[in-house]
Symmetry: D2
C-alpha cells in the first residue's frame, strides 16, 4: 500500500476542518498552542515510517502516557494490579465520582484519571518515590521507542498541579477507601509529570509498536509484555481508550487506540503498524476532532480494521 | 486448523466446571433447564461447521436477539436510528435508570435492555404492529440462517411479560421522555417475543456469518448490511455486548460477541467464522460462566483474536 | 388578631405578582385554568373562618391528597407502614429513580410520588379494589371536613393516567422490588383518582384542623389520629411537604404544610388553625409561587411560626 | 414543670441502653471515650438550669459547631451566603459527591460537611486566615455562652486532619467548581479546628439560648441575629440537622436540633429553652443513640414540641 499517498490524501481532506475543535484551555501551556496544527505518522512493524504535516512536532501526550504507566505497572504487579483497578468502560464522566463512591474506591479502568492515579501510586510503591517513578516511566518510554531524548515538561506539570482540583478530589476519595498507599500529593505530582511527557507523532507511532507485535518491539526485538498481556492492553484501549467516546471511536475507527487532551491519538493495527496523529482542536468528548477524522479516513482508505 | 479436536479439548477442559454458574431463575421456563448442558459450534465462512456436546440443543437466545433486531432497524432507519439510541458502553447496571434520567431517555447503546426496547419500537413503527414486527424479525433470522424452522417460544414470552416490571419501568421512563412512539405494552410484547426466540448453537453460528463477512452471508451471497455497517455492529458487540462485563470479555476473549441470559454466547472472527456456545450457568454478570471460559480457551488454543 | 384585615393586606400585596408563575401544563385540565386566580382561607380551631379572593373556588388538590391517604393508611397499618415507606426528605427530584434503585424500592417518604403510590397500594389491599380505596379516601375527607360534597374529577384522573408515564415507571420499579402488592395499573388508577379530588381553600383549611388539634377535629370532636401520630404527620409535612423546596418552605414560612401542582398549599399552626391558599402559577419547584409568598407574608404579619 | 424529676426519670429509663451504640472510631481521640457516659442539661430562657449525669463533662462537639460558624457567617455575609450554600435537606449520604457534581459545587445546606466547609471558607475570607477564623468562632462561642473557658482541642483537630480524606475530596471538588476562595488545606485546617471545640452539655444548652429567643440571648440581652434569621436557623436545624436521619429526628423528637459525631445533640424549644444531651454511642446514622432517645422521652414527658 502507498502509505505516503494515503497520508497526503488524508491531510488534504482534513485541512478544511482545522480550527473547528476547541483547544484544551484549562492550563496556559495547552491553551497557547496553534489550533491549526496537524501531523500524522505511521511506523510499520518492519521499521518503515511515513509522515505528513507536523509529524515531527512535539506536543503534550497527556493521557496517552497512561498506556505506558499501565504497561509498566502490569509488568511489575501482574494480575494483582486488577484488584485495585478494573477493566470495564466507565460510562459518562458525570459518573466518575459516584462510581468510585459506589464501588469502594476501585476505578473502572486504568485509562480514566482515577485509574491512572492508582497505577501511578503502584509505581511509586515500587520505585520508592515520585521522582524515581517518573524516571522509571521515562526510561520505559526511552526503551520502547529507542529514543532517549523524550522528556517531561516540568512547567506543564506544575501548571496542571495548580489546577488539578478535580484529580485531587478523586485521589482523596480513593485514599479514604484505602486504595492509595502513598501520600496524595506525592501521587499527584508523579501523575502530572507523567502526563506532561512530550513526543512527536513519529515518536509515538514508533513507541507503540510493541503493542502491534504481541508485546515485543519488532525492531529491537526486546520483549516488554507477554503476547497475552499485549492483547489485553489492546482490548482495554478499544473499550476504554477515549473517555466517554470509546464506543464511538471503536464504531467509527475500529482500532485500539488512546487519546490525550493535548490533541494526540495513537492507534494500533495488530500485526502491522502503529499510527499517531496530532491536532490540538478537541471535540465535545475531549478527543482530537481532526485526529479522529483522520484515523476514520485511514481505515476507510486502507480497509484496515480489526472488525 | 483441526477445529474438531480443538472443540473436543475445550469440552474436556470445561466439563469439570459445569454446574458452577447459576441458572437464570426469574422465570420458570429458564429456571428449569439442566444446568450441566454444554454445546459449542463453529461455522466457517466457507460453510464448513463443527460441533461438540449439546450443539444441536435449542435454547432461549434472549439478548442475543438484540443483534438481529438492531441489524433490521439499521437497515430500515440507517443513521437516523442513532438519534434515539447511542453507541457507548453503559457502565454498571446500577446506573441504567439514572443514565436514562440524566440523558433524557436516550439509552447508551442498543444492547442494553432500554436500547433494545427503543429498537423494537422503531421496528413496530415500520411493521405496523407488534406481531408484524416479531414476524419481520423472525423472517430476518430465517434469511440470515437459511433456516425457516426457527421460532419464538410464546410461553417463555408470556412468562417474561408477567415478571418484566423492571423493563416496564425503563419503557415508561423512555415514553415519558418521548422516546417511544408506540404504546408501552405493545412494545414490551414485541420485545419479550423477540427475546424468546429459540436456536441451537449450530444455528446461531450459522446465522452470524453475515457479520464475519462484511455484511454479506458468505454461503447464500445475500447482502444484509454494507461492510461499514457490519464493521460497526462488530465494534458495538465488542464494546457493549456483555452487559457490565463487556470490558472483561474483550479483555479475556478478544472477540466481538453477544451473550444472553439463557446461557448462550456468540462471537465473530471477522473474515473467518462465527462461534456459538451454550451453557446455562451464569456468572455474576449474567453471562454464561462456562461459555465465556470456552471462548477464552478457543482464542488461546487457536491464537485467533482481533487484537 | 384581625385575620380579615391581614388576609386583605396579603391579597393586596400579592396581586401584582399574579401571573408570574407557570401553570402546570402536562394535562389539559390543569393547563386551562385562569393563572390570575388567588384565594386564601383560614379556619381557626374554634370554627371561625376567614377568606379572601377565590377562597370558595374549587381546584385540583393533587398532592395535597397525599396527606389524607397517608393519614388513612397510618390508621390502618400503623407502624408497619414504615417498613414500606420511610420518613426522610428525598433530596433533588433527579434523584428519585436512583434512590428507589439504590434503596431496594422503598421510597424516602409518603409525600413524594413513589411513596404516595405505595400508600395507595396499602389502601387497596385494605379496601379490596381501587374503586373502594378511592371511596374510602373520599369518605375520610368527608369526615374530617364535615362536607360530603367533595368529589374527584374523573376526567382529570383519566387525563393524568394517559400522561403518567413517569409515575408508571416508578410504580413498575417498586413492583420489581416487591413493594407493590396489587397490579400496577390498579394502583395507578386509584392514585390518579385520589389526586383529582377538588376542594376550595375554605374546605381545605377546614379539613386540616385535625392536624392543628393533635389528631382530633376540634369542631366535631371526632378523633382521627393519636396526638403522637398527628405530631408526626406535621413533622413529615415540614420536612417533606414541598418536593425539593421543603427546606426553603420551612425556611421562609416556618410551618408544616403540603403543596400540590394544582396551585394549592395548606399549612397548619398547631393548636391554632389551618390555612389554605390557592393560586395556580407555580415556581420552579412546582409549588404555588404566589401561595408561598402569601404564607410567608402571613407568618411575617402575625408572628405565628413554629420556630 | 419539675425539670429535675423529668431529667432523673429520663436518666433512669435510658441507663439500660448505655453501651448499645457504637462510638465513633475513625480517630483515636474519639474512639477512646467511655461509651457508657450520659449527661443531659436544660437551660431555660430565664437562666434557670438543670442537669443530670455527666452534664458537666466536656466532649467534642464536632458538627454542632456548624451552627455557630453558620450563625457567624450569616451575620457577616447575610443573604449573599445563600449563593454558595443552599438550605435543602440532602438525602442519603451516598449522594453527597454526586450532588455536588450535579449541582456545580453548591452544597445542599450548611450542616452537611461540604456546606460547613464553604461556610468556613467564607469566614476565612473575612478573618484573613484560618487561625483568625477559628479565633473568631471561639470568640463568638464565648459571647453567646458567656463563658470564655471554652476551647478547641488541637490534638483532635490534627488527628482529624490526618484522616480527613473524604472531606479533602469534597473540598477539592468544590474548589474545582470555584466555590472555595481560599486554599483547600487552609480551609480544612480551620474546619477541623472548629469541629474540635469541647463543651459540656450545660455549656451547650446555655450557648443555644439565642436560638430559643429570636436571636437575642435572653440572659445577657445581647442580640446576635434578627428574629427572622434565628427562626430560619431553627428551620434549617429541623430539616437538616441530623444528616440522613433529620426526618426521623423531626418525626420522633419534633424539635429543631443539631447532632455531632462526638455524641452530643442540642435542641431548641423556641420561646422556652435549649436542651443538650451527651452520650457517645452512635446509631446507624451517626447520631447519639441514647441522646436521641432521651430527647424523644423529654418531648413525650413534657408535651413540649413545635408540632
Amino acid at each position: 500500500m502507498n502509505y505516503s499517498s494515503i497520508l497526503n490524501k488524508i491531510h488534504q481532506q482534513v485541512t478544511p476542518m482545522l480550527g473547528q475543535g476547541k483547544v484544551a484551555d484549562y492550563i496556559p501551556a495547552l491553551a497557547n498552542v496553534d489550533p491549526n496544527q496537524f501531523g500524522m505518522a505511521i511506523t510499520l512493524n518492519n521499521g518503515d515510517f511515513y509522515g505528513v504535516g507536523d509529524y515531527k512536532q512535539t506536543f503534550s501526550i497527556q493521557s496517552i502516557s497512561k498506556v505506558f504507566s499501565f504497561t509498566l505497572a502490569l509488568r511489575e504487579h501482574k494480575k494483582k494490579l486488577y484488584r485495585r483497578v478494573w477493566r470495564e468502560p466507565s460510562g459518562d464522566p458525570f459518573n466518575s465520582l459516584v462510581q468510585l463512591e459506589h464501588e469502594a474506591g476501585i476505578p473502572r479502568n486504568p485509562f480514566i484519571n482515577a485509574g491512572a492515579i492508582v497505577v501511578c501510586d503502584s509505581l511509586i510503591s515500587k520505585s520508592n518515590n515520585n521522582e524515581a517513578a517518573v524516571n522509571d516511566i521515562l526510561a520505559f518510554i526511552h526503551a520502547i521507542s529507542s529514543d532517549a531524548s523524550i522528556d517531561t515538561n516540568k512547567s506543564v506539570a506544575e501548571s496542571e498541579m495548580q489546577h488539578g482540583f478535580r484529580n485531587a478530589s478523586l485521589a482523596h476519595l480513593m485514599k479514604s477507601f484505602g486504595n492509595l498507599n502513598n501520600e496524595v500529593e506525592e501521587v499527584l505530582t508523579a501523575y502530572f509529570h507523567q502526563c506532561s511527557v512530550e513526543m512527536t507523532p513519529l515518536q509515538l507511532s514508533r513507541a507503540f509498536l510493541y503493542l502491534a507485535n504481541n508485546g515485543t518491539d519488532p525492531i529491537s526485538n526486546k520483549q516488554f509484555l507477554t503476547p497475552g498481556q499485549a492483547k489485553r492492553i489492546n482490548a482495554l484501549m478499544l473499550t476504554c481508550g477515549h473517555y466517554d467516546a470509546s464506543g464511538d471511536f471503536a464504531f467509527r475507527v475500529g482500532l485500539p487506540g488512546k487519546s490525550g487532551v493535548g490533541g494526540g491519538i495513537v492507534a494500533v493495527i495488530p500485526g502491522k503498524m502503529a499510527i499517531a496523529v496530532y491536532s490540538p482542536g478537541l471535540n465535545e468528548f475531549g478527543n482530537s476532532l481532526v485526529g479522529t477524522k483522520a484515523l476514520e479516513l485511514f481505515t476507510s482508505f486502507t480497509g484496515l480494521s480489526i472488525f
